[in-house]
């Protein structure tokens, strides 16, 4: 049985006057131990999908089986329990508590699990060691670099030993070298047996994952080996860019033909 089974998931945001179909018939599985990139352009529905995978939100229709259990119809507090026990989140903007130390930040999910303070401390220290921050336990987030902050966040996601690690644009706020460190860390965690879903709009990142799922307008348009999906994605982006450029040039020339007097100003 797959760790994750998405069965005809849709998500519709009802804005009163209009409806946004953020996800339309998403249907794929993720096995335990996989490292999957979800790639797609801005607004394609990646974060919506991740919110559902992370039990932060429930689908409008369809079923989501996590570890064989349907979690798409659970109530708030039940979802909270599932998140606490099964999911580790890594966010683009780190989401650390600014006044708490690295250690306290990492302890947070264990507090909600009801773990004793002493055990919490030990586990949090171990998790920080695992992301090479064992010597920064008492630093506040403001006293850490961006890459270090993201590693604290990863330690926080790991400390509960979740069955699924979810990362939404984890390198989005980092420079490329630091982003590279974080990606390597994810690859290491994958090698150690963790199941990871990484949301990104960068084909280059998706290419480094064993598997990539490409979402366009709330639909899965490609699902396969990371490099291939990323390549197609990049090719489409380039083609779209070329088309846009051509259209722009055509429009510019069209304008200058019709209105030669004002064309110079636009040029």
């Amino acid at each position: 049985m797959a760790l994750i089974e998405l069965q005809h998931i849709t998500k519709t945001y009802d804005l009163g006057l209009s409806k946004v179909h953020a996800l339309r018939d998403i249907d794929f599985n993720i096995e335990k131990g996989e490292f999957v990139a979800i790639v797609g352009q801005s607004g394609s529905g990646k974060s919506t999908l991740m919110n559902i995978l992370g039990c932060l939100d429930v689908p409008t229709t369809g079923a989501y089986l996590l570890g064989g259990r349907d979690v798409s119809t659970l109530a708030d507090d039940e979802l909270a329990d599932v998140r606490n026990l099964e999911i580790g989140f890594v966010f683009q903007s780190f989401q650390l508590l600014p006044r708490a130390s690295a250690l306290e930040n990492v302890e947070l999910p264990l507090i909600y699990r009801g773990v004793s303070p002493r055990e919490r401390r030990e586990k949090a220290k171990a998790a920080l060691d695992r992301v090479q921050l064992g010597d920064r336990t008492h630093h506040k987030p403001t006293e850490l670099s961006g890459g270090q902050r993201q590693r604290v966040a990863i330690a926080r996601a790991l400390v509960t030993d979740p069955s699924l690690l979810l990362a939404d644009e984890p390198t989005g706020n980092l420079d490329s070298a630091t982003g590279e460190d974080i990606i390597r860390l994810f690859l290491e965690l994958h090698a150690a047996g963790n199941t990871i879903v990484l949301v990104t709009h960068e084909p280059k990142l998706a290419a480094r994952c064993p598997r990539a799922v490409r979402v366009v307008d709330g639909l899965v348009v490609a699902d396969g080996e990371g490099q291939r999906v990323a390549f197609e994605n990049q090719r489409d982006i380039d083609a779209a860019a070329a088309a846009a450029l051509a259209a722009q040039q055509q429009m510019a020339s069209g304008l200058s033909q019709r209105e030669p007097g004002t064309g110079a100003h636009h040029g």
Binding site: D57, D77, L85, Q95, L97, A100, P109, Y112, G114
Partner: protein, 434 residues
């Protein structure tokens, strides 16, 4: 396969099955909430301090007013000494007063021993009438020991009866001894303790000022209240002797004892009329003396205390309401500011109840801190009045307890709405908040 085993224990891995575990985890939860609350509060010291002003003022008012009221009560108890149930006193000054006296009262002439004697003549229906003069902080010594801070009363022979200070051993001074100023003294039990720890006092000599006096009696031990002056640290000497030592500049207090079983109130009215004649007042002049008995004093005080309490309640209720709204406001701001934090906590598995608890806890801590500051300020004012104005103020513990309990209530009541708002936030939306 381990994944399957995991999933079968879904939702039960949390320690939520047993009652005991749930209780323990709840206690643990509160300790963490406390830490989180303190953390976030000290991040916004100034804002917290400003919004707490209402609570601080409310609690401060209660505590300081209660301390003052209690101080008045204590001072009244001391001032009345043991004025007997059927005794009243005529004196120059009002028995209870605040601040400087009015000009009319300032102009009053001293009451004299002669006027006391004149009243005796014109009020024969009274059982007995005495005169007395007081001074404080005197030193009495024997060749071996010294007693300091002693109250000295100069009295007529009625002194002991009218003040309910019965002679335990020996005797009091008689009428002629009192008037002529015999060199005798009656000691309070506390003075005996200091001066004659291991020797018979009666018949011995003590020194007061430049005079040597013979101890003729000892007043029964009174066992003072713990706040005011000790009524056992007292000596009584003949009023004539008192004036010989300290001069005649002091106003004499006149004590009147009614026949037992007679109507004290009526006697007071008769005494007022008689004493007006003694004082030479015409019909259109106000009394230039005050008169009180235990009972009238109690009434005066009770009226005063009631006024103070009403005022206090009004100020307190108003400022606590303001304080409560302040707490609600600061908590709503906190919830808005920390939307992302709340989203994160929910993402990490905090249930609604936990978020609710956290914010209610913060609100309670906040208003309790305001309460503690108010209590502290109240104690400070009490101390200032006690040492600066020598009113024996005392902060009643029940007022402290009540204030802090009310603060807790305010935190709970006004914290619930913001906390509920926080707990209902949708984590997916809250996390997106920039």
């Amino acid at each position: 396969m381990s994944e399957l085993q995991r999933s079968s224990s879904f939702g039960t891995a949390r320690p939520q099955t047993g009652r005991v575990e749930r209780f323990l985890s709840a206690v643990g939860a509160r300790r963490d909430d406390l830490r989180l609350a303190l953390q976030s509060m000290f991040g916004h010291k100034l804002r917290a301090a400003l919004t707490l002003l209402g609570i601080v003022i409310g609690v401060f008012t209660v505590i300081s007013m209660m301390a003052l009221t209690q101080g008045l009560q204590n001072s009244m108890n001391q001032g009345m000494g043991g004025l007997g149930a059927n005794v009243f006193q005529i004196q120059k000054w009002p028995a209870v007063h605040f601040g400087p006296e009015s000009a009319a009262i300032q102009k009053r002439k001293n009451l004299t021993l002669a006027q006391a004697m004149a009243l005796r003549e014109s009020l024969p229906q009274a059982h007995q009438i005495g005169g007395e003069v007081w001074d404080f902080g005197k030193e009495v010594s024997t060749t071996e020991n010294v007693a300091q801070g002693i109250q000295v009363a100069g009295g007529t022979s009625e002194f002991f009866g009218n003040n309910s200070l019965p002679i335990g051993r020996g005797r009091g001074f008689g009428e002629s001894e009192a008037m002529s100023g015999g060199r005798v003294v009656v000691l309070g039990a506390g003075v005996v303790d200091s001066l004659f720890p291991d020797r018979e006092p009666i018949g011995a000599k003590v020194r007061l000022g430049h005079l040597e006096l013979e101890v003729i009696g000892i007043i029964e031990r009174q066992g003072g209240n713990p706040f005011g002056g000790n009524p056992d640290n007292l000596i009584a000497i003949p009023i004539g002797l008192f004036m010989e030592i300290y001069g005649t500049g002091r106003s004499v207090n006149i004590t009147v004892m009614a026949e037992s079983g007679s109507n004290l109130k009526r006697l007071m009215d008769q005494a007022t009329a008689a004493f007006r004649v003694v004082r030479g007042l015409s019909a259109d002049q106000d009394d230039d003396f005050d008169m009180y008995s235990n009972e009238t004093m109690q009434q005066t005080f009770d009226n005063l205390a009631d006024m103070v309490k009403m005022f206090m309640l009004a100020v307190c209720a108003l400022s606590l309401l303001v304080g409560g709204i302040g707490v609600m406001n600061i908590m709503l701001v906190a919830v808005a500011e920390r939307t992302r934090e709340i989203g994160l906590r929910k993402a990490l598995g905090a249930r609604r109840m936990r978020i609710l608890m956290q914010f209610i806890f913060e609100a309670v801590m906040l208003s309790l801190i305001g309460g503690f500051i108010g209590v502290g300020l109240g104690y400070a004012v009490s101390a200032v009045v006690r040492y600066g104005f020598t009113l024996p103020t005392e902060v009643p513990l029940w007022a402290v307890g009540l204030s802090l309990a009310v603060c807790t209530m305010i935190g709970l009541v006004f914290g619930i709405y913001p906390a509920a708002r926080a707990s209902k936030l949708d984590p997916a939306v809250a996390l997106r908040d920039e």
